[in-house]
């Protein structure tokens, strides 16, 4: 059986890749993809802890399924927002989306 910390390292790496993408990428779609990476890192953690700590139970797995469903819904909403932003600003660069500041 593969030791647990292998999974955790993978999940941590995935998480920080997502965080880096969220902060560093300028394209809104790329930012959205980075958010999905962060979510997936969390879901891996759910599955791993469920499998290693409570092998008789399935809650962690179900939670991951919930997370995937919610991520899908969130992506739908986010893409709709991004499309509207593009219609209004002809641009999806995060650096230019600051008109609510004023």
């Amino acid at each position: 059986m593969i030791p647990m910390h292998y999974y955790l390292i993978l999940s941590a790496a995935l998480f920080f890749v997502g965080v880096y993408g969220f902060i560093a990428r300028k394209n809104l779609l790329a930012v959205l993809i980075s958010v999905e990476l962060v979510l997936n890192a969390v879901e891996i953690n759910f599955c791993v802890f469920n499998r290693y700590l409570y092998p008789q139970q399935m809650e962690g797995m179900f939670f991951s399924l919930f997370g995937i469903a919610i991520a899908a819904a969130e992506t739908a909403v986010a893409i709709a927002i991004i499309m509207n932003i593009y219609r209004n600003l002809q641009n999806i660069d995060v650096r230019h989306i600051d008109s609510l500041k004023h």
């Binding site: 969220f22 902060i23 995060v94 650096r95 989306i97 600051d98 008109s99 609510l100 500041k101």
Partner: protein, 634 residues
């Protein structure tokens, strides 16, 4: 007698109508509306007088009757403020005086104010004043009196400042308002002290049964060595002294002459300025029995003011100011008469004399002011130096003015003689010193009135820009009516109607005193004739000889400067300026500091709100990491 409510109500309706819709009417129509409503009030007032004095059965004296009263504010079982109408001999007498003089002024103003801007406004204010003054005299309780007292103050303010584009008129109206308002503060405190102890505002209850309620309720209470009753009555007198221009609160009245002349005749000669006398007379039993020391003081203040104002009047060159000081002097005469009076049939002739003089003075002083108004209208100046020999151009005004001068000088058979004789007799009975002062004042009065008369109607012919003309009939008719009243009112058996306890008083002319009064008046007239009839330079040489005294007198004994010193140098500098500094720097400073700190801190951190989403995320991640590390290691 319920219709007496209409006497003040008609001018009120007229004020509301003219105030709201006056500018839509043509000026003459507005004037006629005001005059007609005043005429109705006058007719009602005369009818009230006839019914009250002749048609109501009265055995041994006139009672106070209250035909109309409703509770307005109920504070407690006992402390109720009602509004209504109270009729007794002096209030009925005042109703007649006010409505008659007011009607004359309304008619006169149709001519005098013709073509002025704000003619409708003028009539609206006249109606407001008439309403307030009538409400004041019929007040059955002291609080209603106070309310109307302030209303006459405000309408006086509005009318003095009628020519509001003239800075001097604005200053004069403010001065009048502030000085009388300052005095009214005393009045209000007096009312509150009195009602705190007696638990009532009702004038009938306060004065009933020789003021026994006041005496009983304030018995034993004293403050700083003076009894509470004396304090209350002295404070109430302060209000009266302010309105009636007693020394040292007289400074507003000469300046009030900035208003239109008919207004001076109505407000600052015949009606409002006697409100103080009326107030003391209204509370007379309380003064006599509960605060005799205050009454004594009123007598001395009155006598001093009478002399003081008469001396100043001799040197003034503005004809309206001469009349203003003469008004102060004559009102002080009335005050002195009250001060020397006692209560009841034997001791009370002073009270009757005071009211009698108030009655006759209202007519002849209104006549003097309206006559002066006709002169001012003709020569377009208030200064004596620009008048002279006007008798050729204005024969009718000349005659009526002469009648009024003779009346105020106390020459029989004109009305002033009778009332002045009663005052002198009452003073002689009570206090020889006061009698002496009043006697001298009588001579001075005759002198300065005839100085005025000769300077206007005799003396040198002046260079007039255009020929002076006699006034129009609308101005002459009130003059003639008032002149007739001046001739006949002295023969009214006043003592039968008005006395301190309501019972008829039996008086007769005290011939030795009357003759001495006539003699001193004749001396005054003779001196004035000698000095001013031909208009030589003798008066100027006498003035030069008197030097400093003359200058001090013509500057009104520097009372204005003294008041300015007290207010500006002492009150403003020592009290107001530190308070203003505290307000500006400590109170405002605290508030400013709170606002400023919010402003500063927000401008310091507003850079964080950049609108850059990724910057927020960066801060969020760093924050989360910091918290995580802190949780792990500490």
């Amino acid at each position: 007698m319920e219709f007496t409510l209409l006497i003040p109500a008609l001018p009120l309706l007229c004020f509301l109508f003219l105030g709201l819709a006056g500018h839509k009417l043509c000026p003459r129509a507005a004037g006629l509306v005001g005059t007609l409503s005043m005429a109705l009030s006058t007719a009602l007032a005369w009818a009230t007088a006839c019914i009250y004095f002749f048609a109501t059965p009265h055995a041994g004296g006139y009672e106070q009757i209250v035909p109309m009263a409703t509770d307005w504010l109920c504070f407690s079982q006992r402390l109720v403020i009602s509004v209504g109408v109270l009729l007794d001999p002096i209030s009925v007498m005042m109703l007649v005086v006010i409505t008659t003089v007011s009607l004359m002024v309304h008619i006169y103003s149709l001519g005098y104010m013709e073509g002025e801007r704000g003619f409708q406004r003028y009539y609206a204010f006249l109606s407001l004043f008439s309403f307030s003054m009538l409400g004041l005299v019929v007040a059955p309780n002291i609080f209603q009196m106070y309310i109307f007292w302030e209303l006459v103050g405000v309408s006086s303010y509005l009318l003095i400042g009628f020519y509001y584009t003239k800075p001097s008129a604005v200053a004069a109206s403010k001065k009048a308002f502030i000085v009388t308002r300052f005095a009214d503060l005393g009045f209000l405190v007096g009312i509150l002290v009195l009602s705190y102890y007696t638990g009532t505002f009702d004038l009938g209850a306060l004065t009933a049964d020789k003021g026994s309620l006041v005496i009983a309720s304030t018995a034993g209470a004293s403050f700083m060595g003076l009894s509470v009753a004396s304090w209350a009555m002295a404070l109430i007198f302060m209000g009266g002294a302010g309105k009636s221009a007693m020394f040292p609160l007289h400074i507003w009245l000469p300046d009030a002459m900035e208003g239109p002349t008919p207004v001076s005749a109505l407000i600052h000669a015949a009606t409002m300025v006697v409100a103080g006398v009326y107030l003391v007379a209204r509370l007379f039993p309380v003064y006599v029995f509960a605060a005799p020391d205050v009454l004594q003081m009123i007598g001395y203040i009155g006598a001093f003011t009478a002399l003081f104002a008469a001396v100043i009047a001799v040197t003034q060159t503005d004809i309206k100011r001469v009349l203003a000081f003469s008004t102060i002097s004559q009102i002080a005469y009335m005050m002195t008469a009250l001060g020397v009076s006692g209560y009841g049939a034997q001791e009370g002739p002073g009270y009757m004399a005071s009211m009698f003089h108030l009655f006759t003075h209202a007519f002849f002083k209104a006549l003097l002011f309206l006559g002066a108004g006709a002169v001012i209208h003709a020569v377009h100046s208030n200064e004596m130096a620009e008048m002279g020999s006007l008798r050729k151009y204005m024969p009718v005004t000349n005659i009526v003015f002469l009648i009024a001068c003779l009346a105020i000088a106390g020459i029989p058979p004109f009305s002033g003689f009778f009332s002045k004789d009663e005052i002198l007799a009452a003073a002689f009975e009570h206090d020889k010193l006061l009698f002496g002062v009043l006697w001298v004042v009588a001579g001075l009065t005759a002198f300065y009135m005839f100085r005025l008369y000769y300077n206007i109607f005799w003396g040198r012919e002046r260079q007039y820009h255009h020929k002076p003309h006699e006034a129009s009939w609308m101005m002459l008719a009130p003059l003639v009516v008032l002149a007739v009243l001046t001739c006949v009112t002295g023969f009214i058996p006043f003592a039968d109607f008005v006395s301190s306890d309501g019972a008829p008083l039996h008086t007769h002319i005290e011939w030795p005193i009357a003759l001495s009064g006539i003699a001193v008046a004749l001396v005054g007239i003779f001196a004035a004739t000698l000095l001013y009839r031909r208009g030589g330079d003798l008066p100027d040489r006498i003035a030069a000889r008197l030097g400093g005294f003359y200058r001090a007198t013509s500057r009104k004994f520097y009372m204005d400067e003294l008041w300015m010193f007290v207010t500006k140098k002492i009150i403003f500098r020592l009290i107001s300026t530190p308070i203003a500094w505290f307000d500006k720097h400590v109170i405002d400073g605290t508030m400013d500091a709170i606002g400023l700190s919010a402003h500063r801190s927000s401008s310091a951190i507003k850079g964080l709100q950049s609108g850059k989403v990724q910057f927020y995320a960066w801060i969020f991640v760093v924050g989360a990491l910091v918290i995580a590390i802190w949780q792990l290691f500490f």
